[in-house]
Symmetry: C2
Subunit: 714 residues, 2 copies
């Protein structure tokens, strides 16, 4: 669904918009209209003369940048950046780096594809991959990338559609208005349109993209160097990671002609240099109200963390069974570990009592300002209390909703497939505006790509994760819950999962296609156990979703608009909205930081990786690196940090200079950046990137990737 | 160590004082002097006319009980209760129920012993056990039980020893004073003496016990009925559990002659009846300051929960490998799941903003009272701020301390053994008062019982848990931490764990005995890899412990005494101290409760178990039960609830009537009781017990345990 994006921490998380392996997890598709993905300006107090800000390209603070850093980008410069930037629909960013559709992103952003293309015989994640010729490039089974072509302000039309809506009607009318705008914009399957809610309903923009689903793998290093240091070093610095992959967009069976693309800097990033990052930060929550933050702190973050930690344990131990399990579980395990670390950072920020007190004070000040203006108080004064009430409703409803209806709940690709198949005939029979969002005309191409993906489904892993999530569901809702009884009957959850997986035919895309094409009659006749399961609980699942959307989402959004209004009146509009997995531009400089008296230098070198290596995972360098050592310029900068304001979803973003030449590749943030979900601290928050010179040095001297180096113009 | 008791939630946790399998986990031995196991009276506001209170037997509120329930126990009655009550040193309670040393406790309190006595061929946990003759009773490898023989007030002597101690000296002088008092009292290995810190240093009592280490298993049902409903039903009600076991204390090779013991009620508990629970509640934190509670809420509880959840996942998945693994992991997995649920309940209580606000208000009121009295303000006014500063020190030190020095850290029986062996010569060479507490003369019998226990050690499980805890340690402290480097070198943690376990001979108790007897020379010469590891980190581990004891424990205790003083002055002494794993008596009545409008009846019946059974774990009844169904009086009360104030450590406590006849057996609390760590709510908190009639009905008709029924006098 559209909801998961905001729920995920994923600073380096590949499928950050979609926390599940489930190919249908519709969260990949429509991050837009969810209120938690919406935004408001930070309070004026928060901005200062820092590099804070994930700026809209059509509302870029040119004067502010000139004042702070002496550079004023032109509209042409901004357009060039926009056209050269790429969004990976699964939750990452990328950049066009040649005129033939070559896209640079992170290894971990392509990891799902790399794993899907791997086999028992050939594990590309372990071994790496390089297509020496165009013919060797391998198509990713279900990757989608988007290229932004235009932004239209549709605020007035949305406001008109919502005018006078009651609390009851609000969510429904809003969904219908979004669907209608998106449908009108979507002229073909090659176009993707998203209505984006900015400043928490303060503004609505319609983003129009070219949609590409033929994306091929060109190059990936070994995971051992892409993720050198593994989980222990994740979100840390100094780092020594070559977290890169190259993909190519195909259009009509041929490489995309991309006349606009980033250049490549020979020198790469230098200390103190002005740097830009263009990318798709997934979600920040810098403008949430205090009651919403308290819910994050006391309910949502702890509950997620506990379940993910348990799953991490399960997957870790399962991975120890053998090479096959290790390969199959790797992607999900990485996601969990990454998300755990990211969420721990967020929780720590909310547990920082000084930070939280500041949020409380800021809200109190804003409310006092509203209260002092009788007209304003009458129109928006009740918003905070209404949002607080919605937190009570959230506590009551969120477990059923998340465990049964959201991607977070039943962790099973096959169940997600079954549910999409079961819902298809009913949804497609409705007018577009009334459908579940993922079945809207604008979103069907993405849904179908997932549904008919040729990516293999591991029966063993499915049994494991579905069984575990059924046990979890029973634990959270209790064995006497009506929905739990309907799901489990008298079954033991793990036994049930094994039986479902053993009995289904849905692993075969042809079977799915036949059921989809057969419509309601085919579905009703199906005795597939997953179809039966999805059918059995569909009524309840939909009911919980409806209630959650009305009683929680709807109330938060409606009143969030009022809070946004108060903020606009108080602080003006020279601000940036919370992140929404749409294109943003941030500026910063290459600069280290100081940590409890210890200065952290901004650069590492290739030589440093050899010093840190122990030969044991996750500190073992690939054999190719050991073999190439004597050929390498060991003083080449490897990774570096900048003050750019980024967050999960920015993975794979280019770092470029004022000449829009690539000087690096964002792949992480430092540990302090994790609290960036709620606020930016320019003293400590840092983006972590691979240096452009390390990329070329490794491609040329370690991987012999001559074709690629040449294409980069080096 | 003495610390873990307070750290564990364990309402139904067998080894609640000792969260580890480690037989040496010294926490089983000396729960006393830890400041977090200390106590203060709840604020007057909290008590009211409810059944709240875990009362000292030598300060029992006879008049209050008479006023509330019309019964005034005599001193003889109280003495009889004291003599008939038993403490299981591992963290449970029990009762003498015959004149031949027969002890009734929970199944889960004997589960470790039951597992230790099981083999691949005969799993007593699954199958149950009944000794049809005295000769069939099986000795538990390392169980200790204690019978309280006297309590002496040593407050004056402790205060004299601590008079004028600086912050620096405080922890050391206090430890020495405790050791000295305990040593003087301990006239033989058959005597155990613990100085107990009550009311957070407000009072010190010396508890003197008979110590028994020859304890034999007489009866245990199948785990399927002892823990029917498993983790999903844990802490829930209605329940259908026969959570009982019978043990026998042997003294000089023969059953203990126990002239004093509880009688047995033919009718058992009735609705509205006055009930007593005598037992050993492990730890409550009802009198912590707000800064201490905030540390629990924001740091300690979340960190523990996350790690335990991860471990739970590991153990769950490992258990799926086969029957053997399932048997080996069961005990630890149960402990984790139980503790996770208990800690979640505690965390929920602290996240209840109304509850926390009440704590804040109470503290503010007390501090205002202190501030209003200049003399009092001068002597105790700074205590709260000092305790708050200690929380900062705690945050800085707790991870190293807990992960390396405490039982919570390196989860390995073999490592615990190695550490005790390595430390033995050095510690025993010091004067008693200067030793680490677990090496004090008063504690050596317990240490040695663990050290030379014949209980088997599973190499496979050791590798799993040690490997996982090394990974965890590296994650928490970071790969660049000096201690982590010293522990791991260039090794991969799981590989290291496997190598250590494969290379050690410490699984053999004879090898341990030889090393212990050989003293320093034998230890220094040992090349055993576990000995080498323990030796390598011993200096750092001791240093972290020393710093933690001085900078955190010492400061909290010293200032806690001042807070206690303020409380005594404000509220008087007609209160009860926080739980300290010492004998307490609580009173209550058999009564259901109301939950969101739903009335929960106080009783279930045997017939209800057959209705709830699905045939699948954890809702599968044992075959013996299915076979016996037609013989049973299905309307026999099975489990029931009372308003008695209990907490972890009370597992196995008898429920008895005013005639001191057994009417039930405590085995759990309801979900609301979990917040009981911080405060008692008589509307909702309930103890959960097995009914005495169900016990007899099952013993007689299902298990044919004629010898046992006869001994109970039924």
């Amino acid at each position: 669904m559209h909801r998961s994006l905001a729920l995920l921490g994923c600073l380096t998380l590949a499928a950050c918009a979609c926390p599940e392996r489930a190919p249908l997890c519709p969260s990949t598709e429509v991050p837009t209209p969810h209120p938690t993905a919406t935004s408001g300006p930070p309070l004026a107090a928060g901005l200062g003369d820092t590099d804070e800000g994930m700026w809209l390209l059509n509302e870029f603070p040119t004067e502010r940048l000139e004042r702070l850093h002496g550079f004023a980008p032109t509209q042409a410069w901004l357009d060039h950046v926009r056209d050269s930037s790429i969004r990976l629909a699964g939750g990452c960013s990328g950049s066009l780096v040649s005129s033939h559709g070559l896209v640079m992103t992170n290894h971990h952003c392509a990891e799902k594809c790399i794993q899907q293309l791997s086999t028992k015989q050939k594990d590309l994640t372990e071994a790496g991959f390089y297509a020496a010729s165009a013919a060797d490039e391998l198509r990713c089974p279900d990757m989608e990338v988007n290229q932004l072509t235009g932004i239209e302000d549709v605020t007035d039309r949305m406001k008109a559609a919502l005018a006078g809506a009651s609390e009851q009607e609000f969510a429904t009318r809003r969904k219908a208005a979004v669907a209608s705008l998106e449908q009108a914009c979507t002229t073909s399957d090659a176009v993707r349109c998203d209505v984006v809610d900015l400043y928490r309903g303060g503004k609505y923009h319609l983003y129009k993209y070219r949609r590409f689903q033929d994306v091929r793998l060109v190059f990936a290093p070994e995971v051992a160097i892409a993720f050198f240091g593994g989980d222990p070093d994740n979100f840390m610095f100094p780092r020594f990671d070559l977290d890169v992959s190259f993909l190519r967009i195909y259009d009509g069976g041929a490489p995309l002609a991309s006349s606009r693309h980033f250049g490549w800097s020979a020198a790469g990033a230098a200390e103190g240099e002005l740097t830009f990052v263009a990318g798709h930060p997934g979600s920040t929550e810098r403008s949430l109200t205090v009651s919403q933050l308290a819910n994050r702190r006391d309910v949502r973050l702890p509950e997620r963390l506990l379940w993910w930690s348990e799953e991490r344990g399960l997957l870790t131990e399962w991975s120890q069974r053998g090479e096959d399990q290790r390969r199959l579980a790797r992607s999900l395990l990485f996601k969990r570990e990454n998300a755990i670390k990211a969420y721990k950072g967020r929780l720590a920020a909310l547990h920082d009592s000084a930070f939280f007190a500041r949020k409380v004070d800021e809200e109190r000040a804003l409310r006092a300002r509203v209260a002092a203006d009788p007209a304003l108080a009458a129109s928006v004064g009740g918003a905070w209390d209404a949002i607080e009430s919605a937190q009570t409703a959230r506590r009551r409803l969120h477990r059923h909703y998340e465990l049964v209806e959201e991607g977070e709940g039943l962790e099973s690709t096959l169940f997600s497939i079954a549910r999409a198949l079961v819902r298809g005939p009913e949804e497609l029979g409705k007018p577009n505006a009334e459908r579940l969002h993922e079945f809207g005309d604008a979103n069907l191409p993405a849904l179908k790509q997932s549904l008919f993906s040729s990516a293999p489904v591991s029966a063993e892993l499915e049994s494991l994760t579905l069984g575990a999530s059924l046990v979890h569901l029973r634990e959270v809702l209790g064995p006497d819950d009506a929905l739990v009884k309907k799901l489990l009957g008298a079954d033991e959850p793990r036994e049930l999962a094994r039986r479902l997986v053993a009995g289904t035919k849905l692993a075969d895309p042809k079977v799915r296609q036949a059921l989809w094409d057969g419509g309601k009659a085919a579905l009703d006749a199906s005795k597939d156990p997953f179809i039966e399961l999805a059918r059995r609980i569909d009524g309840e699942a939909r009911a919980y979703r409806r209630r959650f959307e009305q009683e929680v989402d709807g109330v938060e959004t409606r009143n969030g608009e009022l809070v946004a209004k108060a903020r606009f009146l108080a602080f003006g509009t020279a601000q940036y909205p919370d992140a929404t997995f749409t294109l943003r531009l941030s500026y910063g400089v290459v600069r280290g930081w100081s940590d409890e008296g210890r200065d952290v230098a901004p650069f590492t070198t290739l030589g440093g990786a050899f010093e840190r290596a122990t030969g044991k995972e996750p500190f073992a360098l690939p054999q190719r690196w050991l073999d190439a050592r004597s050929k390498l310029a060991l003083d080449t900068p490897f990774d570096f940090v900048t003050t750019n304001d980024i967050i999960g979803g920015n993975s794979g973003s280019p770092v470029f200079n004022a000449k829009s030449e690539i000087v690096g590749l964002v792949f992480d943030g430092n540990i302090h950046s994790l609290g960036g979900a709620f606020g930016f601290d320019d003293q400590k928050n840092r983006a972590v990137a691979v240096h452009s010179r390390a990329l070329v040095e490794a491609l040329a001297k370690i991987y012999g990737a001559a074709r690629l180096v040449e294409e980069l113009g080096k």
